[in-house]
Symmetry: none
Subunit: 135 residues, 4 copies
DNA sequence: GTGGTCTAGACCACG
DNA sequence: GTGGTCTAGACCACT
């Protein structure tokens, strides 16, 4: 499988660490089925050059995603999307549904004068409660 | 007005800065009307001791909330909820509505195998889009 | 909890990456109950100086162990053994038992002319079979 | 002697170098008496194609095993198992004994929550100690 | 002073 | 040429 263009964008002024931005964008592409199992990713160095960041930063991202089981790093060969990643894929319809729910939440929050960070925190709190409730 | 108990909880292993956790919890209590204008907050030192955190951190929180207009620091006297804070209060009904929307989003996200951080990021992204759309 | 001496040893000529050596030694100490929950570890920089290695390498080790749930990194404060690490502790008796079984295997392997790497590989193969058999 | 099928399996996601995997599997087959002296091995190219790996890698493996005295490379003819390899053969009974000891160790390790890499490392450590004790 | 991120660059192992 | 490790050093966020 060839290495397709990887239309990743880094916002250096967002305050969000570069490696987090990269990880999430690649993870999301795999989840959406835009990066199928077996697909080769750009080499560490080439992606670093393309994004204007350091190769170590890219390597860190690939390594993190390897631990999550999404990527397979082959020394001397390259980096590939794992077969197992398909299990973590999400149907596009579901993602739309999620996006809609998120949009609704954002509108409600804004009209109530909340801040984005407050909503994000609310989500994390509810998430933990849900997890605990399962136990 | 007396200083009520301030049932704040700090999670040291969450990775979220302590001052952020504190700020949001106090802000939310004011928004909910659980901390009314004129109410005195615990002293910097007592709250620091109670939570087992650094006094500088508490001082920073009070200072930040003062800048937002929610608190009033009276040197040598204490810290109080401002009258103006009432303007930022949100009706309980609205908060319930928001909480419900958030709960739904959390459930959708969980069933799709997403992580809380991904949802939080989604929210922030949508937020910015909404802001830009307004311009 | 104070930071006790951490008698770690690095063998730079072993060919085994420094961060792997460090990780395993700290992990083993926690497993053995020699590093109890709440205990503070040396700071990233001090351990780096003590071992004569780079601070980034120590930071990587701490970060990896944090992901495993063994350590808790508190920015601005320090690094601590988590409460949850106790769940991964192993009784000393069991470790002795394991060491004996390993010693026996080593003797058998040596007398049959095998190499250590072959034994190690045999272990990993059997391990995977056991895992698959469980499914 | 004809070239038998060589049922080798390569795990590209194991992190273990391909040449190590290949070497050990061939070595083990010779030790077990499954590859007898005089037997021809597949050509470098055919084995490389069959396994989907680089021909250089296969060549390296054959060369390494030649240095160990297990294989004989005859230029323009092919690669063969040496007569001397018989001396390194191990009786099946012994291999069973070793496999049993290894299985026991794996079970103990798993029930104690260790990782395969930790067991492998333990073995290598004990091996070195045994060697030193002999001196 | 703590940990976290990022850079630049060197050297190594693998294919 | 691929990824992996390590160093040295800068700057930042947090307590």
């Amino acid at each position: 499988m060839p290495s397709p263009d990887l239309p990743v964008e880094i916002d250096r002024s967002s305050g969000i660490p570069i490696y987090i931005q990269l990880e999430e964008q690649i993870r999301l592409r795999i989840r959406r089925g835009q990066l199928l199992p077996g697909t080769a990713l750009p080499t560490v160095r080439s992606l670093a050059v393309e994004l204007g960041i350091n190769a170590n930063t890219v390597a860190r991202v690939y390594r993190d995603l390897q631990r999550e089981g999404l990527l397979r790093l082959e020394r001397g060969v390259g980096t590939f999307v794992t077969e197992a990643s398909a299990e973590q894929a999400v149907e596009p319809g579901r993602l739309d549904e999620i996006a809609n729910a998120a949009r609704r939440l954002v509108e409600l929050g804004r009209s109530a004068g909340l801040r984005p960070a407050e909503l994000a925190r609310l989500i994390e709190t509810l998430w933990k409660e849900t997890v605990n409730a399962e136990r």
